[in-house]
């Protein structure tokens, strides 16, 4: 294993006693606890860590945080493989494995780098201009293009970690744990408010962790650690480290992801990440700022780095990011960093400052050290390929917008850039807040807020530490204060030394030093200044067009380091101000979020509740095959050993027609309707009349949408003077209940009716067949089952198998039938009692499939099966159930031109030669080749045991007038054609005699 040759001997926040081994691109390395993958790679002198998206240019580490545009890696393998992580954010752990993405065969030798050679052919939007001929070739071109695009690879195995979610309310949410955020949390916390402080880094401190600033007599880091201890001691404060607030939604709803154990390698089976769903009464955003680079030719070479990052590598990670450095920028920061570099033993070649008059404390200190300050100069280009070898420096003209004088070459392997700061306004902007442009600071600042949010510190354009501390505390105090929390004995402001700073001079674009040079604006997407100029030339000069045409800011880094330059350059080209050009939209997530954590535990068995009836256990033990009806599992059929579906269903049907069958009907929706106006209410929601239903009687009802289309059906019984009991279809239960409440509360509040859903209170079984009465009589007590005493469509109470039951004589099979309902917890006992006595009757459990065959033989509709929301009662031939004497929901719609057409699709029976799939289409005139005119479709089709042939139900245009005609069912999928005769939909027992047993 190689020595960490760029590691400093002392200082920084790494633990040199804890060595961690890791592999990068298959090679072993060593780092220390506290390292990120990026700092460890730099410590080991690894320069090329990635290839760019389009031209596959070699790239190194550019930043020290989430803004990293280059160093994307694939982490782990197998079930822990994760694509596209920023090496600058990956905390090192022992055994970590990482590899560069988007290169082949290796990051150092990448075949695709050929793209860089022909980059002249690949300007922004080149694909819109070519690959059009020959027409059929695009598909092949596309394959190649797709291979070249993309970054990391999707894992090959399912994830072996788990994720969870959590809701949390708080008074004040503080996002960002730098000096501003810490101060805010302290102030709010001391007032007794419920506070959450979240920061995406491993430790609190923010910029203090890397910039060596001091507060009072202590280092900034010590101050942060002290604050952390105080916060941890407050009952109502929760500090969440490694937690990124990534989305700011309506009504102060903020989503955050906490990386629970990624830094420990997230062992299999453990909780890896947690989604926090925060509802905050007040939010303080102290999200800091991101340093901007400078733009010049070949500014993407490994060794070019943001100045603050270089500083962080030294102060926080004890890594010397290079041996010989040049600094280049437009503000004081480069001078401060020059001092840190020099202190760390880096040879500082020169500080190149575009400002003609570089003054201020830091500049003076640099000069004092004997470091050359090249004021009024700019870097024209970088030298080297896989590593930086030097830079070319030119003097600027007086206005600072062009070059004057000769190129001077400086040798270096590190170039630190600072083009100013971009406040991290992402979350503020997501919250709906407006941005204002600050000419002074050349950046957008939070303006008018739309939600209960304030912004403090660098995120608010306050870049000096003293201001950050003060503004943070004020924001925390004010947020808590708005909620009535008062800080007692607010401490004095902390003393911070603050030097004189020179003003920043924005420079977005300088003329090219030579034609065809590439100055990268968006490093990730390989977008250059020329690309932006081309886009503008071609008319894509709206910022939103520019973004999409060039793909600026569309990579995983979302243009953190490039967007402001793109904007500045575009404004320059258009000759307009930056605010006139405007930003593109900030969208969640702030940084990419794994699907897994958004899914949480809502996968596998917890993906969606499985609803089971009281009898479910029995069905399962009896080998039922289930079908999903909404969330319910319903027995579809009950095969016996060795029996296929067809045979099982046939057997079940025969049992119902000749003996007795039992069905679990518990899933039917059930609604208690009570009140003096109940009948009036039913009259309005059903098509038929409910005026004359006697107590103890049941009636079938059909419900329409206000558009006149059949919506649901079911049997309703009158249990008492003012008490009705409605049943609905299983799938429609919730919808009907909601629908009825809606009408009652919103349209007819004058009706005295109460609705209570009792679907789950009752377990219901239904028995049908000639032996149904005899079977029931063995179990029923206190109910006279004789036909005369208990006729069809009557409901009675009594005991069945010793259990209080409600028995109704109804039938969906056309046979003599009863529904027996008991309190759900007795459902299984009831069912088992039937099984026990049923042995003598060959009682056969049947599933939904047999039920469908049986009801289809009788021509009974199944709503949602034979109807699809476009069918009226008239279409179904059910005018008999539509009252002419009263208004009801949907009635007026039946009198519209289209619903009165006589050639609408009618519900009819079909006798097909062979069984056809449901959904098969019907034609009157068959043609050998499509297209042909369809006149309807098969809604239900079964092999009928009772009829000894296949039967079907269908919706056919003018069908009732066509009874007796033969139509054709072309089954193009199976390559056959079936003829069928149109009939009445009632195939079996048309007189309904069997109902009476």
């Amino acid at each position: 294993m190689k020595r960490q040759r760029n590691r400093l001997d002392v200082g920084a926040r790494i633990d040199r006693s804890r060595r961690l081994r890791f592999h990068f691109n298959g090679k072993p390395y060593e780092g220390f606890a506290g390292d990120t993958l990026a700092s460890a790679l730099l410590a080991n002198g690894v320069r090329v860590v990635a290839r760019s998206f389009k031209y596959h240019r070699p790239r190194g580490i550019y930043s020290a945080g989430m803004e990293e545009p280059n160093a994307l890696v694939q982490l782990g393998g197998g079930a822990s493989s994760e694509p596209n992580l920023r090496a600058t954010q990956v905390e090192l752990f022992d055994g970590l494995e990482a590899a560069s993405v988007n290169c082949w065969p290796s990051v150092n030798f990448d075949i695709w780098a050929f793209n860089d050679r022909v980059s002249g052919l690949l300007p922004a939007g080149f694909y819109y201009k070519t690959f059009m001929w020959p027409k059929s070739f695009w598909h092949s071109y596309e394959k190649v293009i797709r291979k070249g695009a993309g970054l990391g690879t999707a894992p090959e195995m399912p994830d072996h970690n788990i994720y969870e979610k959590r809701h949390q309310h708080c008074d004040v949410l503080v996002v960002g744990g730098g000096p501003a955020g810490i101060s805010a949390a302290l102030a709010a916390g001391r007032s007794g408010a419920r506070v959450i402080l979240a920061d995406e880094q491993a430790e609190l401190g923010g910029a203090l962790l890397g910039n060596g600033e001091r507060i009072e007599a202590a280092s900034g880091v010590d101050w942060a650690m002290g604050a952390r201890a105080e916060l941890d001691g407050m009952d109502e404060v929760r500090v969440l480290s490694r937690t990124t607030a990534f989305g700011y939604y309506d009504h102060n709803y903020v989503l955050m992801v906490e990386r629970v154990n990624d830094h420990l390698g997230a062992p299999p089976g453990t909780l890896r990440q947690r989604l926090w769903k925060i509802r905050a009464r007040q939010v303080v955003l102290a999200t800091g700022s991101i340093e901007r680079p400078m733009v010049f030719a070949d500014n993407d070479r490994p060794g070019v780095m943001l100045a603050g990052a270089a500083r962080t590598y030294i102060n926080r990670f004890g890594v010397k990011p290079g041996n010989r450095a040049v600094l280049y920028g437009n503000n004081d920061h480069i001078h401060q960093v020059a001092l840190d570099l020099a202190d760390a033993g880096v040879r500082v070649e020169a500080v190149v400052d575009v400002r003609a008059k570089a003054v201020g404390e830091a500049v003076a200190a640099v000069r004092e050290r004997g470091i050359e300050v090249m004021a009024g100069h700019a870097v024209g280009g970088a030298l080297g390929k896989k590593r930086l070898r030097g830079v070319e420096v030119l003097a600027l003209n007086e206005k600072g917008d062009g070059f004057a004088g000769d190129i001077r070459r400086l040798r270096c392997d590190l170039l630190c850039l600072s083009g100013g700061w971009t406040p991290t306004v992402h979350l503020f902007s997501q919250s709906g807040g407006k941005l204002d442009y600050s000419e002074n600071q050349a950046c957008f600042l939070p303006g008018e807020a739309r939600q209960a949010v304030s912004v403090a510190g660098a995120a608010n354009g306050v870049f000096a530490l003293k201001g950050c501390l003060g503004e943070g505390a004020a924001a925390g105090r004010s947020a808590a204060g708005k909620l009535g929390f008062r800080e007692v004995g607010a401490p004095e402001a902390l003393p911070v030394a603050q030097g004189e700073a020179g003003a920043l001079m924005p420079v977005w674009r300088l003329p090219p030093v030579s034609k065809g040079e590439r100055r990268f604006v968006d490093l990730h997407g390989d977008v250059t200044v020329s690309d932006i100029e081309l886009a503008a030339r071609e008319g894509y000069s709206a910022n939103e067009h520019l973004k999409r045409y060039t793909s600026t800011g569309m990579g995983p880094d979302q243009g953190r380091t490039g967007n402001m330059h793109a904007l500045g350059i575009l404004a320059d080209i258009r000759g307009e101000s930056i605010p006139a050009v405007g930003t593109t939209t900030f969208r969640p997530p702030y940084t990419p979020v794994p699907y897994g954590v958004m899914a949480g535990r809502d996968v596998g068995v917890l993906a969606d509740p499985v609803r089971m009836t009281a009898m479910h256990g029995w069905h399962e033990r009896s080998g039922a095959v289930f079908d999903d009806v909404g969330q319910w599992k319903r027995p579809w059929y009950f095969p016996r050993t060795g029996e296929g579906m067809a045979a099982a269903v046939r057997r079940e049907c025969i049992a119902a027609r000749s003996g007795v069958a039992i069905l679990d009907a518990s899933t039917l929706g059930k609604i208690d309707i009570q009140g003096p106006d109940a009948a009036k209410f039913l009259n309005r929601v059903y098509t038929n009349s409910w005026n004359k239903l006697a107590v103890g009687r049941c009636r079938y009802g059909l419900m329409l949408g206000e558009d006149g289309m059949v919506m649901d059906d079911g049997v309703t019984s009158r249990l008492a003077e003012n008490h009705y009991f409605m049943t609905t279809t299983s799938g429609g239960a919730a919808r009907v209940m909601a629908w009825l409440e809606d009408w009652l509360q919103c349209e007819w509040p004058e009706l005295k009716v109460y609705l209570t859903s009792v679907t789950e209170q009752w377990a219901t079984l239904s028995i049908s067949g000639p032996n149904a009465r005899r079977l029931l009589s063995e179990l029923a007590e206190g109910v006279d089952l004789e036909a005369d005493a208990f006729p069809h469509m009557v409901v009675r109470s009594g005991k069945v198998a010793g259990i209080e039951a409600r028995i109704s004589r109804v039938s969906f099979t056309g046979e003599l039938g009863y529904e027996v309902s008991v309190a759900t917890s007795y459902g299984l006992a009831l069912w088992q009692a039937f099984q026990r006595v049923g042995e003598n009757y060959d009682l056969t459990p049947i599933g939904t499939e047999a039920l469908h065959v049986l009801r289809a033989e009788k021509g009974y509709i199944a709503v949602g099966h034979d109807t699809d929301g476009s069918v009226t009662p008239g279409d179904l031939g059910m005018d008999w159930i539509v009252s002419k004497k009263k208004d009801f929901i949907g009635r007026r719609s039946l009198a519209r031109a289209d619903t009165m057409r006589t050639d609408r699709k009618h519900f009819v029976g079909l006798l097909p030669e062979t069984r056809v799939p449901e959904g098969a289409q019907i034609v009157a005139e068959y043609k050998r080749r499509p297209p042909m005119k369809m006149i309807g479709h098969v809604t239900s089709c079964y092999d009928s045991a009772a009829l000894g042939r296949p039967i079907a139900l269908a919706l056919i245009a003018g069908g009732r007038e066509r009874i007796g005609e033969t139509v054709t069912i072309p089954l193009t999928l199976q390559g056959r054609v079936v003829k069928a005769e149109i009939t009445s939909p009632v195939f079996y027992d048309p007189k309904g005699e069997r109902l009476n047993g």
């Binding site: 939604y249 309506d250 009504h251 102060n252 709803y253 769903k277 509802r279 709906g432 739309r450 206000e706 558009d707 909601a738 409440e741 809606d742 509360q745 919103c746 349209e747 509040p749 208004d887 009635r891 007026r892 719609s893 009198a895 519209r896 031109a897």
Partner: protein, 93 residues
């Protein structure tokens, strides 16, 4: 996720509610007297403003009660919560 103030239960997450669309659409008293077009107006035509909309919500997973709110369809700000049956505010307010 919107935070909606149920008049009965207090502020709850949007997930507990169902949205019923535009409020104050009264069912015509005598549908038969309406032309097809007038009926279609009741059935389908909606004011769909960019700005303040009076709409109905039901606290489905709470108290199951319907109520009205005024909400800005651009900012999503909820300006007013009021009972079912209470009239809409005069326009311009």
């Amino acid at each position: 996720m919107l935070r909606i103030e149920c008049p009965h239960c207090g502020a709850r997450d949007e997930a507990e509610f169902s949205c019923g669309g535009e409020a104050h659409i009264a069912r015509p008293k005598e549908p038969d007297k309406l032309s097809d077009a007038e009926w279609a107006d009741y059935l389908y035509m909606r004011t769909n403003p960019k700005g303040i909309l009076a709409e109905r919500w039901c606290h489905t997973f709470g108290c199951r009660r319907w109520f009205n709110i005024e909400r800005d369809t651009v900012s999503h700000e909820i300006l007013r919560v009021y009972a079912m049956g209470e009239p809409r505010r005069e326009s311009g307010t």
